[in-house]
């Protein structure tokens, strides 16, 4: 579904991500793990068209997304939930979900899927995003992205700013989406949570993929255990 080839990107000519290649197959849940500053966010932002890429290919189904602006990429079926969420503070839950379907009218079936997944949002349809808690905002950001019926959902650190219990709940919701057949790509620092959720993963350090494998393989890898799972 998604294939990234020799991809480099960064800010004003200084590449943060160097020559990265990875792929996501239909129906898979794939994680990219790495410490703070490893380049995960830069990689995702460039891939999703919020930041210019300097070289390489981003093949999504039959399209090369490299250099395409975010607003076109979304319409091709790749949804992105950034770590900072980028909600509209003075708009209600309802308005966010309607806009999620832009430029189409919101599809009632998709709407009920989202509200079933996040019953909190159903209770708070008229509440403005700016007055909601971190956990609710995260649900709303995911809900808004789901309204466009993406084929691939990309999430950058979905647990940012969430208390541990809410972080677990966030991954439970993502697990439901995975079991419904949605393809997911997640960048995460909270490695144990992401590992339990994903089929495969890549370790990104200093802007390069250092290790890759299935989640079981990564869980056994001594370097991964030492650096990310807190095992000496």
């Amino acid at each position: 579904m998604l294939e990234i080839k020799a991809f480099s990107a960064g800010y004003q000519g200084n590449d943060v991500v160097h020559d990265v290649s990875f792929h996501v197959e239909t129906g898979e849940a794939v994680m990219i793990i790495g410490s703070n500053g490893s380049g995960k966010t830069t990689l995702f932002r460039a891939m999703c068209g919020l930041l210019g890429a300097s070289s390489g290919e981003v093949l999504f189904n039959r399209d090369d997304l490299a250099g395409m602006p975010a607003q076109r990429i979304v319409r091709l079926g790749m949804g992105f939930v950034p770590a900072e969420r980028h909600l509209f503070p003075r708009m209600t839950v309802q308005e966010h979900l309607s806009l999620g379907a832009y430029p189409k009218r919101p599809d009632p079936e998709t709407m009920s899927i989202v509200l079933d997944l996040f019953p909190r949002l159903a209770e708070r349809r008229r509440q403005r995003a700016g007055t909601m808690s971190g956990g609710e905002q995260q649900m709303l950001a995911v809900g808004r992205a789901l309204m466009s019926r993406p084929r691939l959902l990309v999430l950058d650190e979905p647990t940012t700013g969430l208390a541990p219990k809410l972080a677990v709940e966030a991954y439970e919701a993502l697990g439901v989406l995975r079991d419904q057949g949605l393809t997911l790509l997640v960048a995460e620092q909270q490695v144990p949570l992401a590992m339990a959720f994903s089929d495969r993963g890549y370790v990104l350090e200093n802007g390069q993929i250092q290790i890759q494998g299935t989640s079981e393989e990564l869980a056994k890898n001594p370097e991964v255990r030492r650096a990310y799972l807190g095992v000496m």
């Binding site: 999703c48 975010a70 607003q71 979304v74 909600l87 509209f88 503070p89 806009l99 832009y102």
Partner: protein, 285 residues
Amino acid sequence: MTAVILDGIVLGLQFGLLAVGLTLVYGLGGVLNLAYGQMAVAAAIVVALAMDAGLSAGVAVGVGLLAGGLFGLLLDATLLRPVYRLRGEAQILLSLLLTLGVAFIVDGLLTWQLPLEALTLNIGGGAVEIFGVPMRRGSLWASGITVAAFVALFFFFRSTMLGRAVRSIIQDEEGARLVGIDPNRMRTMILVSSGVLAALVAVTRSMSIPVTVTSGISFTIFALIVTVVGGLGSVAGAFFAGLLLGIINTISSFYIGTFLTLIILLSAAALTILIRPSGLLGVAE
């Protein structure tokens, strides 16, 4: 006193509508358009010329609104492109310098080529009595059109997909792009709308007093004051601030004098910046 307040409301509605075109462009593109008043005047002069050429007032106004929209489109497609790419102070400064230049050019061209041209739309018929006060029909027409424009604007922003899309860009441009909204197309649409609004205000204004080739600067200043008081990027703020300042304006010109009135209005803006920098209904950044 009732008469003064009613006049203030008539003027205030126009102030408000004038400010909407300025405040939306600022909210959406970070552009403070100092040529805004000149857009209004240019459109008014187009209407006047069209009527000189023998077109009926209705058709001429249509042509004028179109001209206002085209002015906006032209600005968006040419000078403002580099402004959109900048952020923060650099963006504001470049927009101020470029649009100030446009204002000078338009003012210069008009006073050079058509120094005596002006638009006056005479609405015939006698005065109509409202709350015991005889009101000119021109003022009533102007107010009716302005209120209708506000109703249309509120409906557009509250209830249409496109209106929501515009608001979403004002609130979080990146979030808007992530739901598939193209900010450039929305900005173009808003620049065109602001040109049409400027033209509409000039037309309604000319139902009370002549709009001349040198009216541009005062349009811009009034729009700026209302925008500062109402809050940048807020249509409702522009509406209420417009009404408030319109009433203050007529009361103070009636009881104090026209010269001091502008100072009083500017003081209102200064006071707002001191006490509530985000304006009446603006949102603190």
